[in-house]
């Protein structure tokens, strides 16, 4: 926490470096490791945007491009490496030995040229590569401070102010009561001093406490009752560790490529396994989990990655037969990763154990209480659940209303595990319908609302919200 907070602090400092010379030394003393952390973070972003498509994130497995672990040591010459990164084809043409060696291994795949990368940017990438290859000890991830930090600071402040004022009020009350007593005594009345116990057990105080408890209890009960059945932040673990951050964030796959119902149907549609296969027929290993997750897709649809073909009559195979196919695949890959001799690897106990363990996990996650075999659909856990009496139509919002997916689903492209970002409560829907303007002029459908058009023409109306065309009426969503 402190670390994150300081990094942000440091960033803001750095931009004003010259002006704030006096403060320069302070963060520097506290955060000696932060400089490299910052560069690694920058390197990570650059890597994700430019390199991650072809190079595995673990820096150890082969994807489209070679693993990058120890790349600087391998090349020895940073200058040659830099020019290779900027334009690999030029390096090959120049006959750079490393370049020629890689080309011979990977041709005809050509590495994309990055002529615009600056030296310090490449340095950051390499810094990140080295760090990631070491297991990412230097967490350069959370650059953005959590908004919660600021909020808790406010809370503390309010608490302090409250305590201060309460103390002041108490002190003043004490003074007033003392003065009253003094006045009373001065007027000759014999007033026994009220003790604290007397005060606390007085009718007024007890009444107030009871009243306060009822109000507080009622408030809590109502709030909790309202949140019953709501599941904002719900992020169940899924049968496949599918990451939207990888697919939508890094790879920038359009949401509607997979969720192709959103533009035309009420359902956005969970993509069918064959949609996954459009890409994963080629990408057979993941950057994070290797064979452990992507093999689940293959096992669902019956694709044999060993041969690159679909298995005929797959649905009727016995589980042992299915297991054999995919264990072979896992074992082969494991052996290749560990650089084991393919001839002896198959018999190796270690390989077998890994294959068994991985396959067991795959089989377990593809089966549920209502599906007793591996083959067939992947049974995802539904994250966004609306009650049955709510009618929601994606096409209405996406195609007609031109609402972005993120408006309701949050920054999905940054979510490793998908979570429900919005409360999906009726109040939340209604608020949006109150504020959102309809595409009144662009869509000919709205011509039938002649009166609003007239009012706009006359200038008596600025905008037409969803509410204005009946978007808050019950039977727009409940029927």
């Amino acid at each position: 926490m402190t670390d994150h907070f300081s990094i942000q602090f440091f960033y803001s400092m750095r931009s004003n470096f010259l002006k704030l010379r006096l403060l320069y030394i302070l963060p520097f003393l506290f955060l000696s490791g932060a400089l490299s952390a910052a560069d690694i973070a920058a390197g990570k972003t650059l890597f994700s945007n430019n390199c991650g498509t072809c190079h595995a994130k673990d820096m150890k497995s082969k994807l489209t491009g070679p693993p990058l672990s120890g790349v600087q040591a391998k090349w020895g010459d940073d200058k040659a490496l830099y020019s290779w990164i900027r334009n690999s084809q030029a390096s090959i043409a120049a006959g750079q030995p490393n370049a020629v060696a890689i080309w011979n291994e990977y041709k005809p795949t050509v590495m994309t040229a990055f002529p615009n990368l600056k030296d310090d940017e490449i340095a950051s990438i390499l810094l990140y590569v080295a760090d990631a290859a070491n297991g990412g000890g230097n967490k350069g991830t959370a650059v953005v401070a959590k908004p919660g930090a600021k909020k808790s600071g406010n809370g503390l402040m309010y608490g302090l102010v409250f305590a201060l004022l309460a103390g002041l009020a108490l002190a003043l009350a004490r003074i007033i009561s003392n003065l009253n007593r003094t006045v009373a005594a001065a007027e000759g009345a014999n007033v026994a001093p009220t003790t604290l116990v007397d005060t606390l057990t007085s009718k007024g105080v007890i009444g107030f406490v009871v009243f306060a408890l009822i109000v507080l209890g009622g408030y809590t009960t109502v709030n909790n009752a309202i949140s019953l059945g709501r599941s904002q932040e719900y992020a169940p673990s899924q049968p496949i560790k599918f990451s939207h951050a990888t697919h939508a964030g890094i790879q920038k796959i359009d949401c509607q490529y997979c969720h192709d119902g959103a533009r035309r149907s009420k359902h956005s549609i969970i993509p069918a396994t064959n949609t996954c296969m459009n890409c994963h027929k080629a990408i057979t290993k993941g950057s994070q989990y290797g064979t452990a997750e992507i093999t689940k897709i293959f096992a669902s649809i019956g694709f044999d990655p060993n041969t690159g073909k679909y298995i005929p009559n797959y649905d009727n195979l016995k589980e042992e037969q299915v297991a054999e196919v995919y264990k072979t695949w896992i074992a082969t890959n494991y052996a290749a990763d560990k650089k084991l001799d393919p001839a002896t690897a198959a018999a190796s106990k270690d390989v077998k154990l890994v294959a068994d363990a991985q396959w067991n996990d795959i089989a377990k996650s593809l089966k549920t209480e209502i599906k007793d075999k591996v083959q067939g659909p992947i049974q995802w856990k539904r994250v966004h659940n609306l009650p049955d009496h709510v009618y929601f139509n994606h096409a209405q919002h996406v195609t007609v209303g031109k609402v972005t997916c993120q408006k309701c689903h949050g920054e999905v492209e940054k979510m490793g595990t998908l979570k429900q970002a919005s409360p999906l409560s009726m109040g939340w829907c209604v608020n949006c319908h109150r504020e959102t303007e309809v595409k009144f002029k662009d869509n000919d459908y709205y011509k039938s609302y002649a009166r609003y058009h007239e009012e706009i023409k006359k200038g008596t109306r600025e905008k037409v919200t969803v509410e204005d065309i009946g978007g808050l009426e019950c039977q727009k969503c409940h029927y």
């Binding site: 549609i269 049974q379 049955d388 029927y479």
Partner: protein, 1055 residues
């Protein structure tokens, strides 16, 4: 004879202003629910018990509330089909076929499951309309009583087997010499016929025996005699100015009622008083049929006089148009007089008239043909070019099969149920038990399947590939909308497999159908050059029409010979008519609870058939039921020596000395919902020359008891009640009496629930009506809240226009409403306690001549009043008004005070007395649909299982116990339509939003739309001077407009 001071009435009690009726009508909630425990052991709660339960429930609620939120799963597809977007409905064109019942339909599917059926407006037969039966077909798909796998049956109990084993058994038992009979209802499918032909190729001694559950065999035979064409001709009700139906219920059940109703309504709608013009419809019948209730004039005869009536009508027509008279039996004088005038009308409308009959006597049908021929109707209102194929059966063939049964090796049951449907079903059961190989393709363990040796359950129509040819030149396709739910196989596939001709492909029936159409249909058209293009287009459209070869028949019937065979009237105290109801048919639809709970349009009873008995007027102000019977009394009837117990309903317009009861009820093995509902009259149906006759002589006992659970919605939710005040000794308004003061807004004792007039007076009536309305509107315009209504002038303002003249009361809309809005079925006991949940009811009112009244049907649902009285009495704001004029009901806010229902002048709000939709986490808490107490943890009530719940519309909340619900004007469809327009960035079109009752209606009586859009159909219809608003005088500002009921009645027809 008309009574004074009486506009319309619903029944005897209403007409006589009985005190019990006033009592009933003035109480909103007649019968509070009894908890199961009270019934079981007379348990009464004491104060201490109350405190105990209170303590327990508070404690339990606390514990429950502190639990963590349960984990819900989101399960995507593995491989998502391209065509499915979860949340968006797909529609597939298909056909509803059940025996000869047919409708071209669109099936709405959500996430791959069919949830609703709509009409296919490309169809020239039913158009966008459907029947109640077609609407309910989607529920029968999810019937838990369906046979789930091929089974061997012994003593009525199925034992599971496999298709391979069954095929082996069949192959072992059949040989080229085997005598095989396929017993079926009408087959409309060319593909099925082709499959049977292939089967016959392998087993040449195969014969198809066709009959229909309710017979039209005599029409087929008569047309063969008269024209050499054994077929039902194509009737054009829209081309006829005078329609005479002798006992044919063509708007309800006869042949192709949806098609006929569509045509019929075209000449019955009146756009404005100035252009008022309508056809004339005379019904000659012996009970109040749905069609009779829509007629302008009814000529009452006894059932055995039907032949006499037809002969008399023929003779009168012949006399006026130069035909030769035949010998006719004597007819009652009143009817004879009326028919003379009717004949004159017919002759005056030569070539624009139409006579039809539901008789199952060939001679009578030949005379009908002869009369039509004299009137020049063939080629004008009747043709054979596009003849109907919807009835092809003849039960005489089934009787012939029974006679030769000992020589038959194998019987296949293809949809038929002879053990229940035929009068001598018991003999069929015996014969089937003796046969060597009996296989039933029926989907349920019905009476016939139970005596077969094997069940080879066929797919439901919504799971099948197939086709249909309902009329010559009209074809349509059946396509599956869901994978078979059970291990079933299409019957055609079974036959082809046994014939060794099934395509060995992944989807054999798809390939077989394609091949059939490539071979037989592709060459019939010129629009598509390749078969693939033709196939894709036809599958998309669902229907395919070609010009049929013109057939010009010449009449060559023997009228004298025919006249000799007509039914001779009998002298009997009581004669009984057996008729088919709109909902249950010949019993095929018995296990469908939507249809069981749909009130019969005329008797207004649910869950069972009742004996209609005549009402006798004492000439002053008293009406007595036959033998002093009252509604709900039990009696015993004796027909042909057999005694039956049934429940009585007094029926206006039922001729003296006659009674009537519906066929198709009292199934002994129909499944959970259908078994034992009503009285089984199949066994007493008389037969003549092997053909079933739907009338007999009967004896009716006096009252033997009372039906405790008699469920008639006749007096439920009545409105605008007037009654005979005890002290006042005059007719007073019950509502005002309850209030204790009167005089406000005109002290109206004749509430304006129904407006009706005669065609002759329509101009005067319309002028008076609009003057009266203007007066009401002027009074209503005085307001304290100026500008209050301004908000409805911008955006949308939804409204409806309902044409009482086009509404035939068929009830398709009520079933459509249940399907669309997840309206629960509650069962007979609950309906008996006024707890039915239907959002849309069709009120039936009589008017005019008390001895032979006319009927008006009024679809009644929430009127979405802009000054809604329900809204301002809700203490929690659970019902409120939208800026679009919708009266919104918010279930999650409702705490169940029922003030709103109390305050609703139209009585359209329904309260969930029980957890009818079984949303309760303890299903055994609930009463069952059939009134059974459920075992603890062992049984689930109807609809609680996941299969039946698949029919629920996912866009509509399933309501729980303790909340009010009512018509929402299909707000989910409104919102969907608006969204479509918004997504396409265009203004809303009329076609974007169509509500469920509107799309189901075959006659276009219900029109919904935006009243603020001058181009909308509803705005245009609302301009008419024929419109009125129900209870307009009470200033609730209803958004529903009704159009006046007009009859073209000749008041002097019988005078």
């Amino acid at each position: 004879m008309e009574l004074k001071n009486q506009s319309v009435w619903t029944g005897v009690e209403d007409l006589t202003k009985s005190e019990s009726f006033i009592e009933l009508a003035s109480q909103e909630f007649t019968d509070l629910p009894q908890l199961p425990s009270q019934e079981n052991n007379g348990f009464t709660a004491t104060r201490r018990d109350f405190l105990k339960y209170l303590g327990f429930s508070v404690g339990a609620a606390t514990v429950a509330a502190s639990c963590e939120i349960p984990v819900k799963r989101a399960i995507p597809y593995v491989t998502k089909p391209d065509s499915i977007v979860p949340g968006i409905a797909n529609y597939y064109a298909s056909s509803f076929v059940n025996g000869g019942d047919y409708a071209a339909i669109l099936v709405k599917t959500r996430e791959g499951r069919p949830i609703k059926i709509e009409g296919n407006d490309l169809s020239k037969i039913n158009g966008s309309g459907t029947s109640a039966r077609a609407q309910a077909a989607v529920l029968s798909l999810y019937d838990t009583n369906r046979i789930a796998e091929p089974s061997a049956i012994a003593n009525g109990k199925p034992t599971k087997t496999t298709w391979a084993e069954l095929d082996k058994v069949v192959a072992g038992k059949l040989s080229a010499a085997s005598q095989i009979r396929i017993l079926t209802h009408t087959i409309l499918s060319p593909m099925t016929n082709k499959a049977i032909a292939e089967f016959t190729k392998k087993y040449p001694n195969t014969k198809v025996v066709t009959y229909d559950p309710v017979s039209s065999a005599a029409i087929l035979a008569a047309n063969e005699q008269s024209f050499g064409d054994r077929v039902i001709p194509n009737y054009k009700f829209d081309a006829a100015d005078v329609i005479v139906s002798v006992g044919a219920d063509f708007l309800g059940t006869w042949i192709s009622p949806t098609e006929y109703a569509t045509q019929y309504a075209k000449n019955r709608k009146i756009a404005s008083a100035a252009e008022a013009k309508m056809s004339r419809h005379i019904q000659v019948e012996s009970y109040m049929s749905l069609t009779g209730s829509n007629a302008d004039n009814r000529v009452l005869i006894k059932p055995s006089e039907q032949g006499a009536a037809i002969a008399a009508l023929y003779n009168e027509v012949a006399a006026l148009s130069g035909g030769i008279a035949v010998a006719a039996p004597a007819l009652n004088a009143k009817a004879a007089k009326a028919l003379k005038k009717v004949a004159a009308e017919l002759v005056a409308a030569k070539g624009k008239s139409l006579i039809i009959s539901g008789s199952n006597n060939v001679g009578e049908q030949v005379l009908v043909n002869a009369a039509n021929n004299l009137l020049g109707n063939y080629g004008a209102t009747i043709d054979f070019t596009e003849a109907s194929l919807q009835r092809q059966g003849d039960e005489a063939n089934a009787q012939a099969l029974l006679a030769e049964m000992s020589g038959v090796n194998a019987v296949f049951i293809l949809g038929a149920n002879p053990v229940f449907e035929l009068p001598n079903g018991d003999k069929f059961a015996e014969a089937l038990k003796k046969a060597d190989l009996t296989i039933s393709f029926n989907p349920m363990m019905d009476e016939t399947t139970a005596v077969c040796k094997f069940a080879a359950p066929a797919n439901h129509g919504l799971e099948s590939w197939g086709d249909a040819q309902p009329k010559r030149g009209h074809y349509s396709l059946v396509q599956p909308t869901i994978k078979p739910l059970f291990n079933t196989r299409q019957s055609e596939q079974s036959l082809l497999t046994w014939a060794g001709a099934s395509p060995a492909t992944e989807q054999p029936m798809y390939d077989y159908l394609r091949a059939t159409w490539q071979a037989d249909m592709f060459s019939k058209q010129r629009n598509y050059a390749t078969f693939n293009a033709f196939w894709d287009a036809t599958l998309h459209n669902g229907v395919f029409q070609v010009a049929a070869n013109a057939v010009k028949p010449t009449f060559k019937g023997d009228t004298n010979g025919a006249a000799a065979t007509v039914t001779q009237p009998v002298k009997a105290d009581v004669e009984i008519t057996f008729y088919e109801t709109v909902n249950i048919g010949g019993g095929q639809y018995a296990n469908n609870p939507w249809l069981q709970e749909m009130p019969d349009p005329v008797t207004r009873t649910v869950w069972g058939n009742v004996l209609s008995v005549p009402v006798k007027w004492d000439g002053i102000n008293d009406f007595n039921g036959f033998k002093d019977l009252k509604d709900g009394d039990k009696v015993e009837i004796e027909v042909a020596g057999k005694k039956l117990k049934c429940t009585v309903v007094r029926q206006f317009g039922q001729p003296e000395g006659t009674v009537a009861i519906a066929v198709g009820y009292g199934r002994t093995q129909a499944g959970y919902c259908g078994t034992g509902v009503g009285t089984n009259v199949q066994a007493v149906l008389p037969m003549k020359d092997g053909r079933v006759q739907y009338f007999a002589t009967a004896k009716v006992s006096g009252k033997t008891g009372e039906d405790k659970s008699f469920a008639s919605v006749q007096y439920h939710h009545t409105l605008g009640i007037t009654g005979m005040g005890k002290e006042e000794k005059a007719i007073i308004n019950v509502d005002e009496k309850a209030l204790g003061y009167k005089g406000f807004q005109g002290s109206l004792t004749a509430r304006t629930v129904i407006r009706r007039t005669n065609l002759k007076e329509v101009k005067k009536f319309a002028a008076e009506l609009q003057t009266e309305r203007a007066h009401h509107q002027k009074l209503n315009s005085y307001t304290l809240y100026r500008g209050h209504m301004d908000k409805y002038t911008s955006g949308h303002h939804w409204g409806m226009n309902i044409d009482l003249n086009a509404c035939t009361g068929c009830g398709a809309c009520t079933v459509a409403c249940m399907a669309e809005n997840n309206v629960p079925v509650v069962g007979k006991d609950e309906v008996a306690r006024h707890h039915e949940m239907a959002w849309l009811r069709i009120d039936r009112y009589y008017y005019g001549d008390v001895e032979n009244p006319n009927v008006v049907y009024q679809p009644m649902m929430c009127q979405h009043c802009d000054n809604a009285p329900c809204e301002n009495v809700c203490p929690v704001n659970a019902t409120s008004h939208s800026s679009e004029g919708l009266n919104q009901m918010t279930y999650n806010r409702c705490i169940g005070t029922r003030y709103c229902a109390n305050n609703c002048p139209y009585k359209v709000r329904r309260f969930n007395w029980q957890d009818y939709t079984t949303a309760d986490i303890f299903p055994w808490n609930e009463r069952d649909l059939r009134g059974k107490t459920l075992g603890f943890r062992t049984e689930m009530p109807y609809g609680a299982d996941n299969l039946t719940r698949m029919v629920l519309n996912p866009d509509v909340t399933v309501r729980t116990r303790g909340v009010i619900e009512k018509c929402s004007l299909c707000v989910q469809r409104i919102q969907e339509g608006k969204l479509t327009a918004k997504k396409e960035s265009r203004q809303l079109r009329d076609s974007d939003v169509k509500v469920a009752c509107q799309t189901a209606c075959p006659t276009g009586a219900i029109v919904f739309g935006d009243k603020n859009n001058p181009a909308s159909q509803v705005s245009k219809l609302n301009q008419s001077d024929m419109n009125f608003i129900v209870l307009e005088e009470i200033n609730v500002k209803s958004n529903m407009t009704y159009s006046v009921k007009v009859t073209n009645r000749d008041e002097k027809l019988e005078a």
